[in-house]
């Protein structure tokens, strides 16, 4: 055991929350330590956002290769090598993870390989012990500690993964063979993205969602359109669905799914569980602190402060929305707070959400239902992709842009998009929300022609009945 090393800031967890916090702190000339047990970049970079995008890209190509005729192409004997598809996804992750290691090294962040645990205080400083394979490898201390330990897949009794037939995202990301039949339980962004990947790679996919619609976080109209699009691709979608016990036999899984419309008996080759996440709050030594934990998430205020002075929590472990960009932003806010730069809390309504299925879904702000619930008078504008030149030229006529304004103030309360490339476009509305632009400024904005982003302009015009191209 080494002597105790002292730092200005210790970050526990090297995901998009933790490593960004460490980089920001280094930028502000703090002496920073980062403790990561598995892989720099966290789930996002290694087992989440990034590798799934690589997989989804492959599945889009597969889809396109099977839909060449309208473009004047023909190809016989189209096939793919799954090992290469998965291998490429892993390679992308490794490349980025190495990039993070390089950034941290360049910023002179001291990285500890192991798990950190709070073990009390030395004066004003919090002490942590870093362990690796059951051995203590370091003792470190700092007045400020950021917990960025992330989250993991949630399990329900009767719906436990086994890593063979019943998968979580982890196994779903590295399939050795393509299942013929697949059941995806849960239809948040993760469930829907896997469903989309496997469907577009040729599997028969059933989605079972306990709520009355898929993508429950999204605007109801948008999730309706998404469901229709998925069903048109051949997916089977069961909503209001209760999935019975999973029975495994001969490499298959059978279950009974009950919906308000009746019982469905289903036998599949694999099941993917995507029914939410739980925060990684165990073995952090929180019991010796005033840090509060509520349903596996650390309780924080707007500036990510916990009940214990000098201990902050960011990202997934600190609660919804479980998004990498939320974690990164919180990391910067906390470090700025520690540095006395008086940052403002992150407004959840300014955090965009993206789902990279085919079609893509992207949104920011309030859904129509939630906007209505505020009691404000609304002005809603919608514009379909089928009336947009670029979308037609691309062969992507299915999609819609929808904006919700406060009728009185012109505030953009929410924006919701579905269709090709919407994940790349939603930032336009995020900028509008963050800069507090009203419909008047958006209306005056010149959108380039021809782009699908013109639907964003037309939707704004449509909110006052002045859309030009419909």
């Amino acid at each position: 055991m080494k002597n105790m090393d002292s730092f200005d800031l210790i970050v526990v967890g090297g995901g998009p929350g933790g490593y960004v916090a460490a980089l920001r702190a280094a930028q502000l000339k703090m002496n920073v330590a980062l403790v990561e047990s598995t892989h720099l970049g966290g789930i996002c970079l290694n087992w989440g956002c990034i590798p799934t995008k690589a997989l989804l890209r492959a599945s889009e190509i597969n889809h396109l290769l099977h839909d060449l005729a309208p473009y004047g192409f023909a190809a016989d004997n189209v096939r793919y090598d799954l090992e290469t598809v998965v291998g490429r996804s892993r390679k992308v992750s490794q490349q980025l993870s190495r990039g993070v290691a390089h950034l941290l090294k360049k910023a002179k962040v001291k990285v500890f390989d192991g798990r950190a645990k709070l073990v009390g205080k030395a004066g004003e400083r919090h002490k942590l012990v870093v362990t690796k394979d059951g051995r203590d490898v370091a003792e470190i201390a700092a007045s400020n500690v950021i917990l960025a330990t992330g989250a993991r897949a949630r399990h329900f009794p009767g719906l436990e993964p086994d890593g063979e037939l019943v998968w979580t995202y982890r196994e779903a990301m590295v399939p050795k063979e393509m299942p013929k039949r697949l059941l995806v339980v849960g239809s948040g962004a993760i469930g829907v993205e896997f469903a989309s990947f496997y469907r577009n790679m040729g599997a028969e996919v059933t989605i079972a969602e306990v709520a009355d619609r898929i993508l429950i976080a999204e605007d109801a109209e948008i999730s309706g359109l998404a469901q229709k699009a998925f069903e048109a691709q051949g997916m089977k979608i069961l909503t209001g669905a209760k999935v019975g016990p999973l029975k495994k036999a001969d490499g298959t899984v059978s279950t009974v799914i009950e919906t308000p419309k009746g019982r469905t008996e289903l036998t599949v080759d694999r099941v993917i569980l995507a029914v939410g996440i739980v925060g990684n709050v165990e073995d952090l030594g929180l019991e010796g602190t005033k840090v509060q934990v509520d349903r596996t998430h650390i309780v924080v205020d707007g500036l990510c402060r916990t009940g214990e002075k000098g201990i902050f929590a960011i990202g997934d472990v600190a609660g919804a929305p479980w998004l990498a960009h939320k974690a990164s932003h919180e990391g910067v806010i906390v470090v700025d707070e520690i540095a006395g730069r008086n940052p403002h809390p992150l407004s959840p309504l300014n955090i965009p959400g993206c789902t990279y299925s085919r079609p893509q879904v992207a949104s920011v702000g309030l859904t129509e239902d939630k906007a209505k619930a505020t009691g404000r008078k609304l002005r809603i504008g919608k514009f379909p992709f089928v009336a947009n030149g670029k979308a037609l030229a691309m062969g992507e006529p299915d999609g819609m842009t929808k904006v919700i304004f406060d009728d009185e103030t012109g505030e953009l309360l929410g924006a919701h998009m579905i269709g090709a490339e919407v994940t790349e476009m939603i930032q336009g509305y995020v900028i509008a929300r963050t800069s507090e632009l009203t419909d008047a400024e958006l209306r005056e904005t010149v959108f380039p022609h021809p782009t699908i982003s013109e639907t964003m302009h037309e939707a704004v015009l449509a909110s006052s009945g002045e859309a030009l191209h419909i």
Partner: protein
Amino acid sequence: MAIEILMPALSPTMTEGTLARWLKKEGEAVSAGDVIAEIETDKATMEVEAVDEGILGRIFVPEGTEGVAVNAPIAVLVEEGEAVPEASGSAGAAPKKAEAPVGTDAVSTGTVADTSKAKPDVSEGGRVIASPLARRIARKAGLALETLNGSGPRGRIVRRDVEKALEAGSGKTVPAEKTTVSVAPPVDAGGVARVPHSSIRKVIARRLTEAKQSVPHFYVAMDIELDALLALRSQLNAASPSEGEGAFKLSVNDMLIKAVALALRVVPGVNVSFAENEMIQYEDVDISVAVSIPDGLITPIIRQADRKSLREISSEAKALIKKARSGKLRPEEFQGGTFSISNMGMFGVKEFSAIINPPQAGILAIAAGEKRAVVRGDQLAIATVMTATLSVDHRAVDGALGAEWLGALRDIVQNPYRLVV
């Protein structure tokens, strides 16, 4: 450590100014001597130089802000890597500098403390940095944005600031209907356009109202024949090299500046200021010359005009007028002065009287020189005559003294050899 940059007093009498332009951006490195901003004072635009070196950490006062009190923090310099303070330590309650100390010898420098106590006017018509949403909510609630502090990036007023003010009931509310009308420059029902005052227009209005209300003016007029002066001018100008360094072209105005200066030397009782408890007698004769500029007028000063040659006065006046018209006068070039001249001869004016430029005690209004019938002995003759009207502060100068001075001026103009020897 962070060094606050304060609104400089560019002249002893300056109480506030407009931050016209930032020449450095936040985050930019600054070395001592770099010009970092431009400040518009009463009548001119001045450059502000950095005294220390560092990084321009944060700009507290956005460009275009009017009525920035002297000594109010306008920005902060930090060292590399140092945390940047969000707001100035004394933001909002910047100490307004009391009357600046006058030069060690007020009399000899000819500078007298401006007794006017101008309040820093809150930037009416000045640019308020606010988000469109904040503006709309404030307008609907009848809240004056100018009264709020912005918490957004670079002090931008955002929705939360407006909502906080509305919750707290703070912030100056304005009658909603009326404001929207008076703020909007275009045309309202009566077909009038409303243009917010420029900073110089505000100063002119304030200074002249104050002068006319607090200084008891009286006027003495005299007809002065110009023929001898015009003849001398022709001879002198004819003697000028046609081009090159030494070339000059004297104007009537140049000669009148010298004549007025000499008259003040002959009758020094007019070269004074009336102060609360004492009379200030100036040793130097510093002539303020009124120059019209696009949005008002300004009075650059020919210092010690009585001791300068006509050629010096001429070239100095030309340079100052050029600077005045391009807004480049430095404060010391137009502040101070012991006596003023306002010449409207070029407009064919028959006669007029001018308002005194306090703390000076007199101003001479010069009208057009024109050929008039004059009586010489018992003969009618033709002479070029101008009517000159002296306005004086009766607290400092009595009628007889005023008349004596004007008589002295007439003697000099009508026997102009004194201008050249």
